[in-house]
Amino acid sequence: MSVVTNTNVPGAVASRHMRRRIMGFCLLAGLALAFLFSVGFGAVTISPGQILALLAKPLGLDLPWSYGQREETILYAIRLPRACLGMMTGAALAVAGAALQGLFRNPLADPALIGVSTGAALAASVVIVFSAGWAATMIAPLLPYLLPIAAFGGGLLTTLIVYMIANRDGQTDVATMLLAGVALNAIAAAGIGLLVFISDDQQLRDLNFWLLGSLGGVTWARLLPAAPFICIAIIALPLMARHLNAMLLGEREALHLGFHVERTKRVIIIMAALAVGASVALTGVIGFIGLMVPHLVRLVMGPDHRALMPASVILGATLLLVADLAARTIALPAELPIGILTSCVGGPFFLWLLMARREKGGW
């Protein structure tokens, strides 16, 4: 036991700050490594040197690694859009998860678990199934934007519903939140089932492939319309870190501490729906990233959102790159849907969280 003789900040909190800085560095290094692996690995291997040289080329730099036309095409047409999609989706899901958990004051609030992703998926399914009929009409050029916007709308609606059901007088009832999620998931699943039922063969194939969650077949043309949505959310949500910290004390306490509580809730719900909706529009439902990533970060860095949010962005991007790498290499030459993979890992993780919670009584 140490005796503190002055009023300086003592041990653990200061060392937590130091640890955060080191962890931030490790996370960035991990992301870079995952990126090189993800972009380099596949039917044609591209070495890290070649990747750097290829990436430097548009900048006008000439690096001393040689590559062929084949590597260039594969990198820019296939691997790079896929890696960008993976990083954006992982970051968006993780940071949206962290934000929703702060809003609900509960670390079990995963976008897929409480129905937000499924709601977004239902809205997106409607677009996928019916958009074939619209292709010949005037709105055809808007179709790439319609999918992320519809998914955003679906996600927003479900978030609002869960929030209104689970929140009473500034307190969240966890059981209600999870049960509302179960119900919303069931309703949205029924809607999607109905859409599957009325789809023709081609629509069915599109729908199925997309519903299981996959990063495959992405092109810049599909990626770019949704990218601004995701980027706005990834930048805006970490700016709410101090608000979220105060919200953990309770909504009234946050108000007493001088925060605009209603405005804070609105921003978080809209931004989280934006992040989840846009990523669902691109990849289908990928569960548990929003649950696992913030929890892992909290274990190491503590619950302070000023560290949690940016770290979740980086770790989410890294984990999804790794998961995608695993999904496309485990069952070569076939490709496993990544949503199945994350659920295989995330489901048991969730159960473990529930049991650990019973023993510890805190997060």
């Binding site: 503190v4 009023t7 300086n8 900040v9 003592p10 041990g11 653990a12 909190v13 937590r16 004051r105 509960n106 670390p107 307190q171 870190a241 101090r242 910290n245 105060a246 953990l248 004390l249 309770g250 009234r252 306490e253 108000l255 007493h256 501490l257 001088g258 925060f259 605009h260 909290r298 503590g302 619950p303 302070d304 000023r306 510890k360 009584g361 805190g362 997060w363």
Partner: protein
Amino acid sequence: MLRATNVSVSYGAAPVLSDVSLSIAPGEVVAVLGPNGAGKSTLLAVLSGALAPTHGQISLEDKALSDWTPRDLALRRAVLQQESILSFSFRVLEVVMLGRSPHQAMGGVSADDSAVSYRCLKAMDVEHLSDRIYTTLSGGEKQRVQMARVLAQLETSRDSEAAGYLLLDEPTNSLDLSHQHSILETACRSAREGAGVLAILHDVNLAAMYADRIVVLRKGEIIAMGSPDDVLTEETIQFAFNLKVSILQHPTRGRPHVMVI
């Protein structure tokens, strides 16, 4: 001066507060007594600005509470709620530092903030817990940490002349005997340093010992207000709590002492 003028609150048709007028001046400790459901917490909620009154006005330094920005208000009044629901594993010092939020511009934590927070932990006799995980504390320890957070929020720079206001909802909850007294002594010290303090209390004798003025609420109305000697009478207590008591004199403090008979 924090002032409520003819304040009424009703949830639906049921009135919770009716026509309550009350003021808290810098430097005084006001205790609010009353049976369960008398409207004490509602009174505190309207005074803090968390709840808008159905009728009447709340003003701080002669300016309506609704005209203050949340942040400016947070620099002038701090609130200790009855129970805390924090369930994430913050360190104790981090919890107290949350009280410094209104003093921080976007994200910046100054060394001063942590020094202030540490001083407030010390004032509440919990500085030895500063590195502990908040969720592992006992109920009484949590209560003292929350009080430290509230004190840290109100601590301003030395040159500031503006008075702060402390609103405490049952601050002695789940505290042991000695800490019940020390938390109220801390509140009194804040008052001597210029803060206005309002505390909802259940223990009539604690109110008698520490309050400059006592307000008794019953069914949403103020039935008595004044010095402990004026307010704590057999008739008032009988009327408010429906309990027979006799009033003695505290042996050393010169304050009334209520004895249930």
